[in-house]
Amino acid sequence: MSDLHKEVSELEGRSATAARLFDIRLIIGGLFTLYGVIVTVAGIFVSDADMKKAEDVNINLWTGLAMLALGLFFLGWMKLRPVEIPPPSAADAAGPEK
């Protein structure tokens, strides 16, 4: 094996990303649920001027509901299929930062 192979394989063995990195689905789900609620509420209290501007579409309501649905989809996906954390590597047992 080449030196590069050895070096990168050794670093992969000590890598902490797989074990410690949080799940991005939580952030997407949380942010879009929050945005969805905010924009949907703006759509519920829509003004005539806003309706006129947006070609008589209650765009806040529709966009808000769609964002809410996307947010809940990600939260649900995370709940149903949680990430399997790989068994801790030898380096983890030895403590952080070598």
Binding site: H5, V8, S9, E12, I28, Y35, A42, I59, A91, K98
Partner: protein, 560 residues
Amino acid sequence: MQSPTYYLAEGLRLPTNGLDYTILAIYFIVVLGIGFAARASVKTSLDFFLSGRSLPAWVTGLAFVAANLGATEILGMAATGAQYGVAVVHWYWIGAIPAMVFLGLVMMPFYYGSKVRSVPEFLLQRFDKSAHLLSSVLFAFAAILIAGVNLYALSIVVEALLGWPQWVSIVVAGFFVLAYITVGGLSSAIYNEVLQFFVILAALIPLTVLGLKRVGGWDGLSDSLTASKGENFLSAWGGTGIGDANPLGANWLTIILGLGFVLSFGYWTTNFAEVQRALSAKNLSAAKRTPLIAAFPKIFIVFLVMIPGLVAAVIVPKIGTAGSDLTYNDAIPLLMQELLPNGVLGIAVTGLMAAFMAGMAANVSSFNTVFTTDIWQKYVVKDREDVYYLRFGRLITAIGVLASIGTAFIAASFSNIMSYLQTLFSFFNVPMFVVFIIGMFWKRASMKSGAWGLVAGTTAAMVNYFWIYKQGVIDIPSDQGANFVSAIVGFVAGAVVMVAVTLFTAPKPEAELAGLVYGTTSPGMAEPPAEGDDAWYRKPALLGWGAIVIAAACYIPYSF
């Protein structure tokens, strides 16, 4: 693919209110939060630069498409739509999809399997130090330049839309990017790109829907544009016969060879800011699927930029001409101002800001990797412990961001020099692809041929563009068309020189080529597929060919 410099018209100030600013503020908090939450996962330099090669394919795939979906790309492609019409689809369906599929299906086994951490590192393994150093240094410069230009473009757009002084947005956006990448590394950059992908969709979809409604649907849109601009404006290939005149200034042959083959393959398969996303995937199957998963949204994103561009051309028929204050780049900001009420407007502003920051972050996070592993670790301070390179990576990230802030301020005073430099660097991408393709498929290609191919191809493309085209030796109708032709010239020159140099110099020893050249495999790459990777919808061949078929089918309604 290359971002022009932006001038937005005055009078585009958006009627933002507290609701919109709340939405924007929440986003900035989340961006920082991702950075600090990712910090715990950074233990080695590989975690910092490549997320420990452990991310799932859907994450790297969406980051792959988002890294390209910077705001300069979004505004620029909407501008292309407003200027040239439906022909903008070429940049997506022929100028991106085939190259992305090629990267996933053909090149990824060599890239990922060889365990290289960057695109220049592959050149070091396959060729020699001169090819490596040349491409590393040029990439590092170009990345900082593009990051700075992104930042400058952001400041112009934010000044026009929100009224912030330019220096405020340069410093604020630069600071946020610095914070989240220095702390969280590539994982933080990639996670923010995934988030940005969804926010930009949430911004562009309502804009497209309302824009279409405003002009009477697709039928109303095509009727008024046919009346004002002619049939060819709504056709992908109309007027592209060789010798015919069309606004793009290119014929079908230069579109297919120049844009579809050389430029697009050069960008998508050798630009490290893109390839890095695939190299951070958790296994070979996920790495192959990264550009393939990205290809599907890429096929359809064109509608979300083209339609606002076309709608703008209907609403303001004189857009981009001397008769109007508005330039083509104003298409999307114009529709935001005209159509979006507060709330969705906040989402759209957030989406644009996010896209600018992601475009900058993709360059910064690839710059720090190349500078640390390819330049510093190989030529300056060698053989130190890993913690040293991790610390150095964080330091150089901060320095890189400060340098791009400086570049943004220089761009603000000398924007002509900047666009000139960008054109210069764009010619370096062209021979990269020829060097890769010959290096990967021709075992005999010698160690020295790599560097010579790079130099010859770059020089030929530049000579063609700056001398033969700019001095009028040959008549090419537009900059765009000349760009395509220069790419083809650079490719051919690079290939010829590589073959010639190979004939007179020594090949790389066979043993060192394992896993780098077609027909060889890396030692230890026969790892068993991860559980679930054999599902039919995860088969790379199906995903790749599926994307090609869909992209080809998309052409049908715009071709006859």
